[in-house]
């Protein structure tokens, strides 16, 4: 499948490079087009679905979510293009700054943050509320990959693993305290992914896995039994209710039941405007965490499977880029982003389908929200940059 590589080896003239100057100058010539198409298709679908499903949500402003998501999408695409043109390798040099900024921004919400439903996650800006932990996912991957590359020869293998873990878990812990369990889990997974692609030994992962199981056991079972609840009540209920949703018909299980009913009722072809489950508030948070239920009900298996396929395509292209990268840093960054995207997609869609707990993780490029859309597009921009740089380096040319 490596068509680009084949072409360059045969030294065939690059049509874009010569005839289409704009694409070349914008740095778009070596973008991974399937990845771009998947991302554009997803965001376009998101805007479309929000426009269809949220018309009655804000009285007097039927296009509230549609307009805002469209603006976020436009900003995101600009960010992606800019990111594509930057040589991502520079981020490795800026790793300390990036890491400091990450920790500072997720900490500052404790001071200046805007409290919503008992948790402080975002800054209230004039146009939208910015949630630093969303961008933090990308920042963490960029910084941690740098640390892994630079620390590769320092200390023993165990020391290195512990160091990476600490570097990753510190911001994860801050986000967890906001509290934002879902995003902190993404941080943990991204950290493990970067370490994994950074070559941390399998045995270390086995130990980490064991520790995780023990940790979950303590948080969910042992600590509450000992009278020290570590999770807020709703967090624990959300995490466990998916196991037996009928016991929680009115509470956390309610959302998931309704989401399941919504998706199931879409059947093969979808219910279109008759999608009452999601239109009449039976499914909560339908424009953010439960947007997949909207898709499932309105457009049925055809629509939902199509969207899932786009995510599969996205993941495949991201993973593919890890193998193309001109350097190890790119591999680690691409790997971290790919796994983080896979994790978020699986957890969110699984939550909608009633097989994963409710963790409040948005569906990348689909859920309404400026921070998430922007951060995801920037991450895809970084992937594109890795792809572009890989091609340029093989041809001995550099954008900058």
């Amino acid at each position: 499948m490596n068509t680009y590589a084949t072409r360059t080896r045969n030294a065939r003239p690059e049509p874009f490079a010569i005839r289409v100057g704009i694409a070349e100058r914008l740095g778009l010539a070596h973008m991974d087009w399937p990845l771009t198409i998947a991302a554009f298709a997803l965001i376009a679908f998101s805007v479309f679905v929000l426009g269809e499903a949220t018309q009655n949500d804000i009285p007097g402003d039927p296009h509230y979510y549609l307009e805002r998501q469209a603006i976020y999408a436009a900003l995101g695409i600009v960010g992606m293009v800019l990111m594509t043109r930057i040589d991502y390798s520079r981020f490795r040099e800026l790793r300390v700054g990036i890491y400091t900024f990450l920790c500072a921004s997720v900490s500052l919400v404790f001071v200046f943050g805007f409290a919503a439903r008992g948790s402080r996650r975002s800054f209230e800006l004039p146009f939208f509320s910015f949630q630093p932990s969303e961008l933090g996912k990308l920042l963490l991957v960029l910084a941690l990959a740098g640390f892994v590359i630079d620390g590769a020869r320092r200390g023993s293998a165990v020391q290195r693993t512990v160091r990476y873990l600490c570097l990753g878990l510190a911001p994860a812990g801050l986000v967890f305290l906001q509290p934002d369990l879902g995003t902190s889990l993404v941080y943990v997974v991204a950290t493990l992914a970067v370490m994994y692609f950074g070559g941390v030994a399998w045995t270390h992962f086995a130990v980490i896995g064991g520790a995780l199981v023990a940790f979950v056991a303590i948080v969910l079972v042992a600590a509450p039994a000992a009278g020290v609840p570590l999770l807020k009540g709703y967090q624990e209920e959300r995490l466990t209710s998916f196991l037996n949703p009928h016991e929680h018909e009115g509470g956390a299980g309610y959302q998931q039941n309704q989401s399941k009913v919504a998706i199931g009722s879409g059947q093969f072809a979808g219910r279109g405007d008759k999608a009452t489950q999601t239109r009449l508030d039976f499914v909560p948070e339908r424009h953010t965490d439960f947007i997949f239920a909207v898709i499932g009900e309105r457009y049925g298996f055809m629509g939902a499977a199509f969207v899932l396929s786009l995510y599969a395509l996205l993941f495949w292209r991201a993973l593919r880029i890890t193998t193309l990268s001109k350097n190890a840093y790119g591999t680690l960054v691409a790997g971290g982003i790919a796994v983080a995207l896979l994790f978020q997609t699986f957890v969110n869609v699984g939550m909608n389908l009633g097989i994963m707990p409710i963790t409040g993780i948005p569906l990348p490029l689909m859920s309404y929200g400026g921070s998430s859309v922007l951060a995801t597009f920037l991450a895809i921009g970084v992937l594109q940059s890795i792809n572009v740089q890989a091609h340029l380096s093989q041809r001995g040319r550099f954008a900058w």
Partner: protein
């Protein structure tokens, strides 16, 4: 540009790791696809049903009942809308103290004691558990506004727009119209009510009962889309089936004639009844009973009204005396006796009989009313002056046969008249067979065989005879039309909401038998003389009436009562179209009170015809 420390993981190791992650990705996506397929394609039906159940609530929309009109289209019954205060017991506060407080507030608003409110709820629960209970109908707008503004204080209380029967003319034709009421538990089991539910209204009496299936209409079903909080969503009315209003029922009753009859009867101030019927087709033009009632009182009667309407066995306003009464008829029965005697060859029209004022039958002496001797009388004269002796003798001549009973039975006495209304009372035509059975069962006062005296009494409409104006009307109609027993009815046709006739009722004659035209003519001559000539018993009443009629007075002796007044008329003479009969309990002689009632009715009928003719002529 490779950084100094930038080492690539060795190719094979990286490939392995990427492959593992890729494999994990494939597995995860496979899980999602499988789950999606499972939810949407394999169990989609189940979830779709759940989703539909989630979002709709069903409300029954009561269909307005059809109007009841008189034969000219004048409205006798229609509907008015009324606001009813309803309570859904399931939505009452769970806390007993709070519940009590709310019920007390409700009671205050609706002028009911707390105990009464609780009883209303308990009664409602018994009829239809879970359904809203109507606490009070016809509540005012201010009360409605108060409840709606203070919804917090009245959880479960709603105001429902309901249709209530409206009687523009109060008690007019009350016995014909009947009444409506909520369906009873027993009635729900009957096949004609199979689609109904507790709380539905059905006709309970009169035409409302008899023509219920046309009047009732089809309730509609409104599905309201609700959101997760159970609130109706804007524009969320899913129109399913709109209610179909009931069809209108047009009666054979003529409102003006009805009014005249009721006024005439009411003017006597005594219990009684009247009926006026077309003798060719059985259409009842007017039928009434006194005392009467206002059907709107039955909708939500006060205790005083209950006592008056239901608990007075003597006045019994709800009883239609025209069809449910059971009286001896006195001399108006003589027409039947005459017909039976003539048809059986007992006598000829011109055969002269000596009336000495009394005859002796066995031990008993039967006298003319007032003991007057009419001298030599033949049939016409006997009818004109109402010679009892003449008919006593006929009764005596027929006592060993069953001829009189056979003819009375053929003419419709002592048997169901086939009226289209449910109200038909028990009647009795005394005969030898009946008497023997009666004695055998030990019900008779004295243990004696059927005697000549019994038949003599029957011949003049006395003794054990128990009949009513309706049956007498049938008999007179059969005489008038030459032997056809019609089916008396008040239902004329059914019209839909747009006024199109959707059904015309065709009540065929029940039976026919030949009546010798000569005999018929002779009897009618006698009746005409009785009504309008010289010494005729009713000449004082009808002597000046411009239309020729044939009529017969009756003065019935009822044990324990003063004499009951009767009058039967066939009009116009000699080719009658209409039979009109009136009776007034304790009204004295026939000419004294019943005849004037008939006169009032006939005046209304023929005034109307005269004005119709004249106005019709003017139009041409």
């Amino acid at each position: 540009m490779f950084a100094r420390n930038d080492h690539m993981p060795q190719g094979s190791r990286l490939s392995l790791r990427v492959a593992v992650v890729g494999g994990v990705g494939v597995v995860l996506f496979a899980i999602l696809f499988f789950r999606l397929w499972n939810l949407q394609v394999l169990s989609g039906d189940k979830y779709l049903a759940e989703a539909k159940n989630n979002r709709t609530r069903e409300f029954k929309v009561i269909a307005p009942r059809g109007d009841i009109l008189d034969r000219t289209g004048e409205v006798l019954v229609d509907n008015r809308t009324s606001l009813a205060l309803q309570l859904n017991p399931a939505k009452l506060p769970e806390d007993p103290a709070e519940e009590r407080a709310e019920l007390a507030r409700l009671g205050q608003l609706s002028h009911m004691s707390l105990r009464k409110v609780r009883r209303a709820i308990a009664e409602g629960e018994e009829v239809a558990a879970g359904a809203p209970v109507t606490l009070r109908r016809d509540v005012g707008f201010d009360l409605v506004a108060y409840v709606e503004e203070n919804q917090d204080e009245f959880p479960g209380v709603t105001v429902q727009r309901v249709f209530v029967r409206h009687y523009p003319d109060g008690s007019r034709a009350a016995h014909v119209l009947g009444s409506v009421g909520e369906i009873e538990e027993e009635e729900l089991k009957e096949p004609q009510y199979k689609d109904l539910e507790p709380g539905d209204e059905i006709g309970q009496a009169g035409a409302e009962y008899a023509y219920d299936k046309f009047l009732r209409g089809q309730p509609g079903l409104t599905r309201i889309q609700v959101n997760a909080l159970g609130q109706p969503t804007p524009g969320g009315q899913l129109v399913s089936t709109p209610p179909t209003p009931g069809d209108s029922l047009k009666l054979t009753i003529d409102g003006d004639v009805q009014t005249a009859g009721e006024a005439g009867l009411a003017a006597r101030g005594l219990p009684g009844a009247f009926i006026s019927m077309n003798i060719d087709n059985g259409q009842i033009l007017a039928m009434g009973s006194n005392p009467t009632f206002d059907p709107s009182d039955l909708i939500e009667p006060t205790q005083a009204q209950v006592d008056e309407l239901y608990r007075d066995p003597v006045l019994a306003p709800l009883v239609n005396r025209a069809t449910e009464g059971a009286y001896p008829t006195g001399s108006i029965f003589k027409v039947i006796t005459a017909l039976a005697a003539l048809e059986n060859g007992v006598i000829t029209p011109d055969e002269v009989v000596q009336d000495n004022g009394a005859i002796k039958v066995g031990e008993q002496t039967f006298e003319n009313a007032g003991g007057v001797a009419h001298g030599a009388v033949e049939l016409r004269r006997a009818l004109q002056v109402s010679s009892d002796v003449y008919f006593y003798l006929l009764g005596l001549d027929m006592w060993e046969t069953n001829d009189l009973q056979e003819w009375a039975h053929k003419l419709g006495i002592g048997r169901p008249a086939g009226l289209d209304l449910p109200e038909e009372g028990e009647t009795l035509l005394p005969s030898k067979a009946w008497h023997e059975q009666f004695v055998k069962e030990g019900l008779a006062l004295e243990d004696r065989p059927w005697s000549a005296g019994d038949n003599v009494q029957l011949a003049t409409g006395q003794g054990d005879l128990q009949t009513n104006p309706l049956q007498m009307a049938l008999a007179y109609a059969a005489l008038g039309n030459g032997g056809k027993v019609v089916t008396p009815h008040v239902g004329l046709e059914v019209e839909d909401a747009a006024g199109r006739v959707v059904k015309e009722f065709d009540f065929k004659a029940q039976r026919k038998f030949p009546i010798d035209p000569g005999y018929r003519t002779a009897i009618l001559e006698g009746l005409h003389a009785a009504a309008q000539e010289g010494e005729g018993t009713a000449a004082s009443v009808f002597g000046g009436f411009p239309i020729d009629i044939a009529g017969k007075t009756g003065t019935a002796q009822r044990p324990g009562h003063a004499d009951q007044s009767w009058f039967a008329a066939l009009s116009p003479y000699p080719n009658p179209r209409i039979v009109t009969i009136a009776t007034v309990e304790e009204g004295g002689f026939g000419a004294e009170s019943a005849a004037p009632v008939v006169l009032d009715i006939l005046e209304a009928i023929y005034d109307k015809q005269a004005s119709a003719v004249s106005s019709g002529g003017g139009a041409e």
